[in-house]
Symmetry: C2
Subunit: 465 residues, 2 copies
């Protein structure tokens, strides 16, 4: 579908101009004042046009436990999460819809879903997420979350030698599932992508990483993983490898321009140099890192080292929302307390570039997405600057990034297809989604996780608590 | 006006119950299931009832510069703020309305406005804010911001001796203005309070603090001030007093159960003990502290020492919103990275108590406000749990505090008077407010502050940058 946005504000260098934008066959065809109208006319007056952002790391099905998870560090939090995660594909479907909706309503046009798979229904889980994302119309990067070691292996053992239960599925079977998913669902030109995505060094063997590299090479797939989210994982890497996790992944060949790594809180300066050298991308999930007490990722250092950085919400059980503007705001201002020299602080204009072009680069499509550039895909968002949360009028991008905007997305397009118009979804029925989420849940009070009860004391000992 | 809320969810110890709540003559008269209907019926089904929160520190007129302020630390940021703050009373009126509206829409029923006064129109400024807050119907604590030293005195001088311009108004004149404001506007029973509020040790003489103590004693006024927001202020206190700012204020007699202190980022353990001993309240403004790079206030330490803590948004030029739920969320999870022992982390239930009862205690009205208790004033908020941002249903308070709720306030009452009904203001016309904010402002690009240019190099030298 073709359309012409008239008289929208766009940012150019250090100022704003009012301009028209033509979109033809899903691509930005022209950006200039007073263009001829092609296709539908969209009124851009008093609206800000930006490239869509990328929600560069989340786990959609965690939506079912948002608000209820105890205040725990990652390792114990994961135990609680899995104790209460009896998923079915209908729930996967609804939470993928919910994740896409909240991402789009906060300026995201792409989502990287590090998707938790239902054991024994792995391909069905992936098929369900694909269906949901196609329905909403968001650009989807589905990264099926895989591991080949059981949960307790992810906690450093300290002095003691512990034998862990074997994981229920073999490494080979897991890789076969991913390959089948690629063949069945990987359709980049239709906005559906499959990534290889071992959960991280804490629960994956070298064989799993190597198998993923091989799939990535063969099918040209992006690579995703968690990396050094917690201090415990830093300890664990030393126990497992006798070196840092980054050094180990580099030796395995996992790090590349195709690779995006969620969290990256506990890296050394030498690790940072490796990320820069390999052109890997850091996905910053500030809210999750705070909620789980993981720490502050050294984002200013990454930027100074030339490492590409993008933003993610992380799963809604560790955040507990999918509001990308919130992640961008906190992920920008949080770092001001890590460096007294304010000349290094991230400006709102830089935050927008990180969230859009940074996100696209992390998925190896920086040449096709992430900026208002002729010839790029029209993944666009138009913000209503008449909204109270964006008033009085000052710097539109400053208001958007540093304020607390709500209901500000007037229109959103993915690949030129309109997904939100006048603040409403054109693709799905939001009231129905709300009703289904309501009907399939109930208000709960505090729960007790049996696994936390079982592993807590050894965790406290190893972590010196 | 009397009313009965039927079948609302309320939190009781570690669970939720469905109950009715009767409000008679502005007070909570009964809380129990199946009460007789008195007055208007309010449908509380699928809604959460909480006591109203307190936005315990803000500067309303900063709303005019939100989104546009450069990324600078406090001392330079203040210089930019004042360079571009040509206020008039009409602007003061509109930004007070805007501040009240955003506070109410995020669960706040009280606001502490550390109000910037227009030079030469000090009483008119206060009268204007009083008028705005009475119109909206929020409970107002107006803390006229006073000082008796000029801006450059607030920056530590290091080795060099600097002579600062004298402040344009004498200490005595300033105190006379406050006394006149008290006589004219201080009407606690009508929801309008005046506080004594020297801006802080960085710009105030001992005589100003002492004069404020005297007014506080004579008229029974609460006391407010900024305290040790930045490392520069910590340095400055040592230069000025040869001791910490807290020790000095304690000697002056400023600290008491009537005193609330904004920020409190750079206190020593001995300082914290003084706050506890004097029953002073810390107002935590996490977003402003991040944005200005001030640091993380040691809130977990305050709680462990028994210091009362409440939440504030701070002025909208350093945040840049007045969304109290955002301040509560970030002000709760931020501290998880400061203490590896998760047993010290703030739970959502505790956050709600800090924001409501903690706020009331900080204003010396903990016995009249801040909890769902029979006999207390009916400052109440009813949240719509059917909102997408609060779904799926899990723990309602967890969703509210840790999520990113928007448009979730169904109803709000102040002193038993309904201010919001079905999500809409009953007291003012929001569209008109929006239009006036729009009309009196324009989109701006980056500005250059002449004062920043003047003082920046000496600031960088003193701070070792």
């Amino acid at each position: 579908m073709n359309f012409t946005i008239q008289k929208a504000l766009i940012a150019v260098a250090d100022r704003y101009i009012t301009t028209d934008v033509q979109v033809i066959n899903g691509k930005i065809a022209a950006i200039s004042p007073n263009l001829d109208v092609i296709g539908m006319v969209v009124d851009g007056q008093n609206k800000l046009l930006l490239p869509g952002f990328v929600n560069a790391h989340t786990h959609s099905s965690e939506m079912w436990q948002r608000g209820i998870m105890s205040m725990l560090p990652l390792e114990l939090w994961l135990a609680e999460l899995y104790d209460f995660a009896p998923l079915d594909t209908e729930k996967v479907y609804l939470s993928a819809l919910g994740t896409a909706v909240e991402t789009l309503l906060s300026g995201g046009t792409s989502v990287v879903d590090h998707l938790v798979l239902i054991p024994g229904q792995e391909l069905e889980t992936i098929a369900t997420a694909v269906r949901a994302y196609r329905e909403v119309g968001i650009r989807a990067f589905i990264a099926p979350l895989i591991q080949d070691q059981s949960l307790t292996a992810g906690i450093p053992s300290g002095e003691s030698k512990i034998n862990h239960e074997p994981y229920f599925r073999s490494t080979l079977q897991t890789l076969e599932i991913i390959e089948a998913a690629v063949q069945e669902f990987h359709r980049p030109e239709e906005g559906v992508n499959i990534l290889v995505a071992p959960t991280g060094i804490q629960l994956c063997s070298d064989a799993l990483f190597t198998g993923c590299i091989e799939l990535s090479d063969r099918y040209h797939l992006c690579r995703h993983s968690h990396l050094l989210e917690t201090k415990a994982q830093k300890k664990l890497a030393q126990e497992k490898y006798g070196c840092t996790a980054v050094e180990h992944l580099h030796r395995l060949g996992y790090l590349s321009h195709l690779t995006s790594l969620a969290h990256c809180v506990w890296l050394t300066d030498a690790d940072i140099a490796i990320l820069a050298e390999t052109q890997s991308t850091v996905v910053h999930n500030p809210l999750s890192n705070l909620r789980l007490g993981s720490g502050i990722a050294p984002i200013l250092k990454y930027r100074q080292a030339g490492v590409n950085v993008s933003f993610g919400c992380d799963g809604a059980s560790s955040n507990d929302s999918q509001d990308l503007l919130e992640a961008i705001k906190i992920g920008s201002i949080l770092h001001n307390i890590t460096d007294t020299d304010y000349q290094h602080w991230i400006t709102p204009q830089e935050s927008v570039i990180m969230a859009s072009l940074g996100g696209a680069k992390g998925l190896n499509i920086g040449d096709q997405l992430g900026s208002l550039t002729m010839g790029k895909q029209a993944d666009l968002v138009l913000y209503d600057l008449n909204n109270l949360s964006l008033l009085p009028r000052t710097d539109p991008i400053g208001l958007l990034v540093l304020g607390r905007p709500s209901n500000v997305v007037d229109s959103a397009w993915v690949n030129g297809k309109q997904v939100i118009a006048n603040g409403n979804f054109t693709t799905i029925n939001l009231d129905q989604l709300r009703q289904e989420l309501f009907d399939r849940s109930e208000w709960e009070t505090s729960r007790k996780s049996p696994t936390v009860a079982q592993i807590e004391s050894s965790y406290r000992t190893v972590m010196g608590l």
